[in-house]
């Protein structure tokens, strides 16, 4: 149990604080005194130095194997919540031309097929 602070203790604390402040001031003062010339010389050297060319990498970076995340047995990740779906907008297209006649067969070998309403593909 700490005793009640006395006037004697307060005085000793003041003395300690004065010593600490004086020590810090002295340290900073000496630091600046001796570090100043070195700093000036380093700045001059840096100004004169020419940058070395960057050496280009000659080797392909090593391929890092893709390792899937392994979950402990019985655990699974569930993704919940609404997904950010793109805004659906109705687009109206006025028909400019008559529909090509069904009888007029047009084979499209590898071309663009630009006239299709849609495309069937595996999904």
């Amino acid at each position: 149990m700490s005793g009640k602070p006395s006037k004697k203790n307060n005085k000793w604390n003041d003395i300690q604080t004065v010593f600490a402040a004086a020590a810090m001031t002295l340290t900073l003062g000496l630091w600046n005194l001796f570090a100043g010339p070195d700093r000036a010389r380093a700045a001059a050297q840096a100004a004169q130095a020419t940058p070395e060319p960057v050496q280009e990498a000659t080797e392909e970076p090593a391929e890092v194997p893709v390792v899937p995340t392994v979950l402990p047995p019985g655990m699974k990740i569930t993704f919940i919540g609404p997904t950010a779906a793109p805004q659906a907008t109705v687009v109206a297209q006025q028909q400019q031309q008559a529909q090509p006649d069904k009888k007029k067969k047009k084979k499209n070998n590898g071309g663009g097929g630009g006239g299709s309403v849609t495309t069937t593909q595996s999904s």
């Binding site: 659906a88 687009v91 109206a92 529909q99 590898g110 663009g112 299709s116 495309t119 069937t120 999904s123």
Partner: protein, 312 residues
């Protein structure tokens, strides 16, 4: 006549709804909400979907919604038409192959399973479905994945609803087309009596088409192993499961495009052709007079069924 187009994203795919009419069709803007409702019932990737809940209950009847019931019936019909090659009971196999989350977030390289599962036989007949009570009972170990059947069903439903609106107002009438990630339902000829031009994507050149099809009332779908594929360890995998092996189908067909009376039939047939392979797949299409097909093989050959000529 004006083509009114609506593009949006649903079910992990790009969607398109088109109505040809004089006035702006009021129902068109509602199509994304319809797909959202259906996805909430049918998705195996949503932890709170009706399908997910059904897959967690075994050996006791579960009453299901009209939507899930209808799609289950569509899946049954597809299974019968394809002699069991397209079945919704390959959920376990596709998860074993690494497709255990939405494809958008599936890493390109998945971890191989420590102990590959034995091919499990999951016949659809083992599932009890009671039409009067509208219940489905899954045996232990069974799970359903409707996959492309659900997308085809959704495209068909949306097209029928859009077409119904036109029928109510013949003056505004035209035709409707819906495209659910490449599974396309068409209500009939265009307003001027012509056909809809639908391109067939070139699997070797992104953004290009290898053929243009001229279609009226029908469905057309493409299935293939060029999309939704990944590596499991060193093994290339894709999403079309061969039920006889419970593994992704080993096939020389890269993509198969099939035209059928409905988009559900077209989707199931296209998947069947991929599983059967080029020659057998083409022969299978030729055996059904309601189908026409175009197959792109891995060696870049393009095979046409005889009836495909009618649509070129």
């Amino acid at each position: 006549m004006t083509l009114h187009r609506l593009q949006f994203r649903a079910m992990g795919s790009d969607m398109l709804a088109v109505v040809e009419s004089e006035a702006a069709p009021s129902l068109l803007a509602q199509v994304p909400a319809w797909f959202e409702e259906w996805e909430q019932v049918l998705s195996r990737f949503r932890f709170d979907s009706e399908l997910t809940r059904l897959n967690q209950i075994h050996d006791r009847p579960v009453q299901v919604s009209d939507i899930l019931w209808d799609v289950f019936q569509a899946a049954r019909a597809a299974e019968q038409r394809t002699n069991g090659l397209v079945t919704p009971t390959v959920l376990e196999a596709i998860i074993e192959a690494g497709y255990d989350r939405p494809f958008d977030v599936l890493p390109p390289l998945t971890k191989p399973r420590a102990a590959p599962a034995e091919p499990a036989s999951h016949p659809l007949e083992a599932i009890t479905a009671d039409p009067s009570a509208r219940t489905i009972t899954l045996p232990e170990g069974f799970g359903l994945d409707f996959g492309g059947v659900a997308k085809g069903w959704a495209a068909h439903q949306a097209m029928k609803r859009l077409q119904a609106e036109d029928l109510e107002d013949p003056a505004a009438g035209g035709a409707a087309l819906t495209d659910a990630g490449g599974d396309i339902a068409i209500s009939g000829p265009r307003a001027d009596g012509g056909s809809w031009q639908v391109g067939v994507a070139d699997p070797f050149h992104a953004g290009q088409e290898i053929e243009a099809l001229y279609l009226e009332q029908c469905g057309v779908a493409t299935s293939g192993k060029n999309r939704r594929r990944w590596l499991q360890g060193n093994k290339p995998q894709h999403h079309i499961i061969d039920p006889s092996t419970s593994q992704p189908a080993e096939t020389n067909v890269l993509t198969a495009t099939v035209i059928a009376p409905t988009v559900m039939e077209a989707e199931a047939a296209a998947k069947t052709v991929v599983i059967l392979g080029g020659q057998d797949g083409l022969a299978w299409i030729e055996s059904d007079p309601s189908l026409a097909g175009l197959l792109v093989l891995e060696d870049r050959q393009v095979l046409y069924s005889q009836r495909m000529e009618e649509y070129l």
